[in-house]
């Protein structure tokens, strides 16, 4: 089994918790290996997906990575990633907290665990960015998963609410559970404070990763740009 040096970092988050922003904030440090040069950061759709990093096969997609374990780990690693993992620079990848939990066999894996003081806020962002864009397809897929069978039943508002609540309460490994499982304790990044331009939250994160922080002015500019594109209720 291929194991990285001490340079692998998982960004563990549920959709809506600004995973791409955290990726960019960290990846702009010189100690991080950028999958693609981060030279065009516009947060056009309030995400950074145009800079999607594909260091691993499928680990970003929750449903496609549920089977990952020690036995099949190598099959998730492309050749160029193996090469990069032999380097000194950090390799950052994004995944669901439940997948980070399954990767605990990588003893030197560091994890940034993204949290928010009000869970309804990132859920709304996920809804705006992903679910609403999919329209009825989203509800149909969720219903099929719920009843474990394909169906074409008309989905009314009661069912839609039920499916949204189910999605909200989808069981996610907590930071505490993850901390109990990992050899290196995961680091909690309070996304709400970061979006309030709390520079300490950012520099503490850099301290955990042992990377150089950008200037406070640059940090403030990035967060302002992100906030200006993020969905707002009022």
């Amino acid at each position: 089994m291929f194991l990285p040096k001490n340079n692998l970092v998982a960004i563990a988050y549920k959709t809506g918790y600004c995973g791409s922003l955290i990726y960019i904030l960290a990846a702009l440090s010189p100690e991080v290996n950028q999958y693609k040069p981060l030279d065009r950061i516009s947060f056009g759709d309030s995400t950074a997906h145009e800079n999607n990093e594909h260091w691993f096969h499928g680990l970003h997609d929750y449903w496609n990575s549920l089977d990952v374990d020690q036995e099949n780990w190598d099959s998730y690693i492309p050749k160029n990633t193996k090469q990069a993992l032999l380097d000194d620079k950090l390799i950052l990848f994004r995944c669901h907290p439940n997948i980070a939990y399954k990767l605990s066999f990588i003893e030197n894996l560091r994890v940034l665990y993204l949290t928010h003081a009000n869970k309804y806020v990132p859920e709304r962002w996920a809804y705006e960015k992903v679910y609403r864009a999919q329209g009825d397809k989203f509800y149909q897929q969720q219903l099929n998963k719920l009843i474990n069978s394909p169906t074409t039943v008309k989905i009314n508002n009661r069912i839609k609410r039920k499916l949204l609540v189910n999605n909200l309460n989808h069981e996610v490994i907590s930071w505490k559970q993850l901390a109990a499982q990992m050899k290196i304790p995961p680091y909690q990044v309070e996304v709400d404070k970061l979006l309030e331009k709390n520079f300490n939250v950012y520099t503490n994160m850099c301290g955990y990763l042992n990377i150089t922080a950008m200037s406070q002015d640059k940090f403030t500019e990035l967060i302002d740009t992100y906030n200006s594109k993020q969905w707002k209720r009022f």
Partner: protein
């Protein structure tokens, strides 16, 4: 119950509201309805996802919760 719900709605919608507030004026949509269903369920152990049509006012919602308590 009313105070808990109104405080939560104020925080959730980031706006001032009373029992007379009309959900339509808050731009409440299906997502907001679902989150309210979730909150009421967790806080009061009551299922208010009972109709396709959402409550017209905050008072209609509190009445529905009270009648199921």
């Amino acid at each position: 119950m009313e105070k808990i719900l109104i405080d939560w709605l104020k925080n959730y919608t980031n706006s001032d509201l009373t029992l007379a507030t009309v959900f339509g004026n808050l731009n409440f949509d299906i997502f907001d309805e679902a989150m309210t269903v979730d909150f009421v369920n967790k806080q009061f152990h009551i299922d208010i996802n009972i109709s396709d049509v959402w409550f017209a006012t905050v008072k209609d919602l509190t009445d529905a919760i009270a009648s199921r308590s």
